[in-house]
């Protein structure tokens, strides 16, 4: 048995290592100050896909990412770790997309590049938006089952997948028919490292959007390599390529409107010093009961 797997991945600013210049004075993310990285939970998702590929030879793992030219780095990174290839979904019309417009674009692209997909796997959420909405919305738009908070794929046989998922206070095991959508938790197995031979093989992969304006692959260093090795040209899809409805894309397709952005500075409030005396302890208990913090 071989599977067709699509992994959804996103390039995000590294919000885990925030410096003093991480936000602009207007309160938006200063993308130039934060390095762009592979969204961490998407790496957990990729690992789940690669484990299935190890288990079922012949399985293909295709990465789809939406973003500007530099987001193709995510596809290369996934290929270094074992993915077969990928597509950069890129178009001015996709710009300014909220989760709804993003999931529309991704769902449309999946239908276009992998209509017979068995499994779509993505990270639970991206560290820039933290919404955890895109995976479930893609499932809805494609009319597929979804399993969120995936910890581990326990088995896959007879067209059914069994998954251990993380829930409040424990785990539960669920089963779904294929095809379906999984979103994977950061506590799932970490992604395997880059493989050195794959890095050597794919390091020159480029999407057309990454080329300087008015240049082609023939103008690049090692141009003949791109002739000999078609896999060095990464897949790229525009709005028109996937027949997307412009009204549902980008800003036009995004009902989310940002009304206001506030800078919040956390400050310590006045503190109260209690001793270990019975009186103080009782006082604290009464206070916490009154505020319904305990009891």
């Amino acid at each position: 048995m071989s599977l067709k797997i699509v992994v959804l991945a996103k390039q995000v600013p590294d919000t885990r290592n925030v410096g003093p210049d991480a936000m602009t004075p207007e309160g938006t993310v200063n993308r130039s100050a934060l390095p762009a990285i592979f969204n961490p939970e998407d790496l957990n998702a990729l690992e789940q896909a690669l484990r299935l590929k190890d288990q079922f030879p012949g399985t293909t793992v295709t990465v789809i990412t939406m973003g500007p030219g530099r987001a193709a780095e995510v596809i290369r990174e996934a290929m270094y770790r074992g993915a077969d290839g990928g597509y950069l979904l890129t178009d001015r019309a996709f710009a300014g997309a909220d989760t709804l417009a993003t999931s529309y674009a991704l769902a449309t692209a999946i239908k276009h590049v992998q209509p017979d997909v068995d499994l779509i796997i993505g990270g639970r959420q991206a560290i820039d938006g933290d919404t955890a909405q895109v995976g479930p919305q893609v499932a809805e738009k494609l009319g597929l089952n979804q399993i969120t908070y995936t910890e581990e794929i326990l088995s896959l046989k007879d067209g059914k997948i069994t998954v251990k998922r993380h829930i409040d206070g424990g785990v539960e095991t669920v089963e779904s028919a294929l095809p379906c959508v999984l979103t994977v938790n950061g506590s799932a197995a970490p992604c395997r490292p880059r493989n050195v031979k794959r890095v050597m093989k794919f390091k020159r992969c480029l999407a057309p959007m990454e080329l300087a304006p008015e240049t082609t692959y023939a103008d690049l260093p090692y141009a003949s390599e791109y002739e000999k090795k078609p896999y060095l040209k990464l897949g790229q899809l525009t709005c028109a390529d996937v027949n997307a409805d412009l009204q549902q894309c980008g800003l036009a397709g995004s009902p989310t409107k940002v009304k206001n952005v506030e800078n919040i500075v956390f400050k310590a409030k006045e503190s109260k010093v209690l001793t270990g005396s019975d009186e103080d302890v009782n006082g604290l208990i009464q206070e916490l009961l009154a505020s319904h913090t305990i009891g």
């Binding site: 395997r192 490292p193 880059r194 050195v196 890095v199 050597m200 390091k203 390599e225 090795k229």
Partner: protein, 570 residues
Amino acid sequence: MANYYNDIKEIKFELENSPLMERIVELKERSFEDKDKYDEAPQDFADAMDTYDKVLDIVGDITANVVAPNAEDVDAEGPHHENGRVRYASKTYENLEAMTQAGMNGMTMPRRYGGLNLPVTVYTAANEIVSTGDAGFENIWSLQDCIETLYCFGNEEQRQKYIPRVCKGETMSMDLTEPDAGSDLQSVMLKATFDEENNCWRLNGAKRFITNGDSDIHLVLARSEAGTRDGRGLSMFIYDKRDGGVDVRRIENKLGIHGSPTCELVYKNAKCELCGDRKLGLIKYVMSLMNGARLGIAAQSVGLSQAAYNEAIAYARDRKQFGKAIIEFPAVAEMISNIKARLDAGRALLYQTARYVDIYKALEDIARDRKLEPEERAELKQYSRLADAFTPLAKGMNSEYANQNGYDCIQVHGGSGFMLEYACQRIYRDARITSIYEGTTQLQTVAAIRYVTNGFYAQVIEDYEQLPFAPEYEGVMARIKAMAEKFNACTSSVKEAENQDLHDLCARHLYEMAADIIMCHLLLQNATKAPELFGKSLQVYVNLAEAEVWKHSALVARMTTESIENYKVS
């Protein structure tokens, strides 16, 4: 995210800033003949260098994010002895899996066997990096370079059988030491007999202190010539664990490198294959194996010195006493500056050695396929000699430095360093073995001393004096030249005495003087190219080296045929 390669600019400098690198790549890639055969092969020099950078980036990533975080647990748990087998500490398996998934095995082997065809210099950097994260794990992982000996001396059938397995992550060991044969390997008694009935060799006996002794593929030194008692009766054998017959009797309880199991092995009629020719086991193959292993220990030592530096400086910046960070106290800052100077000097020596090894090994490999041109033969001879002369310097000096740096690192930590809470105590313990195994420092001296007496080091030093350097270092150069004069005077006086005991007693001092001066020159070259990286280390190291050379010179001056009686103990 932390990366033990990208975070240490000096390693990248060592890789990129030698005029020898272009020649190494040219020889190793044989004018890029693999470029149309293998997708992963480089197209030209720049492409090869880019590849090396990417390889080490992955090694640095795995070391920082898998190996180093696991080091403490691996050290605490150690390996287990179960039913005659070794089970590693549980996180050792995580480390090995990450390395295998990344394809970091058989790194120097040709692509046709599944290897990466990397120069020794790049592999050495990988070794150093991994050792900074966990020297005990590096010990297991770097045994992959035993395959080099099988590649050089095994037959084609053996190469095809074993090399791809090592490239896929199977581990190796070299079974040399026995209870009564440590430094003196001529006394090896493990018996190898030919089994006529099954047309194979059989091993019977025991080995001791075998690093990673339960590995998948062993290279074994054994006595194939019954009745002999010296090195000429020993041959090299390959034992495949899949055939069975070798059990682990016990695992040693060691001071350091806990992650690496040191085993006592029992061979019970174990089936094995002869590697190369009979009787050449010790005199040819083990010597080759040893030189590779010694370079590996030199790299391990530099990695430990880097770890000592990292821990010392981090603690000294953080720890406050008398109202300020202790790094601000000159007495503490001096210790850290000395660690850094020894680290940079030792690393320069390590990579210079690795480059010499690369050129001669690549030429030797070409010679397996075609006759070398006369100028290539001369080049092979020159670099083989340089490699042979530099390897004992790199191993001996770096291992002693790793010990000193580990000691100073604990000293910087004060009382906290003596407690088992900080990484410095593991570094200190792990460093201790480096000046012992693969030949003690005393044996490195034995290997190196002829290059003192035959004037080879003196010639190398003279050649280095001719290299261009930045004008601001005129004064430094004058001081290095003065050290060389001291060294030459000491060498002459020892030679003139014509007394073997005196010669042996002074050997260590002469050896260290040569090494100190060579490292001064290498740092001078580095500082000329990158004063921002090496300027301070050069000045500090020259101060240290000068004091050392003066000290050794004073000692040698006091060692006479009469006074050496005072050094005799019974």
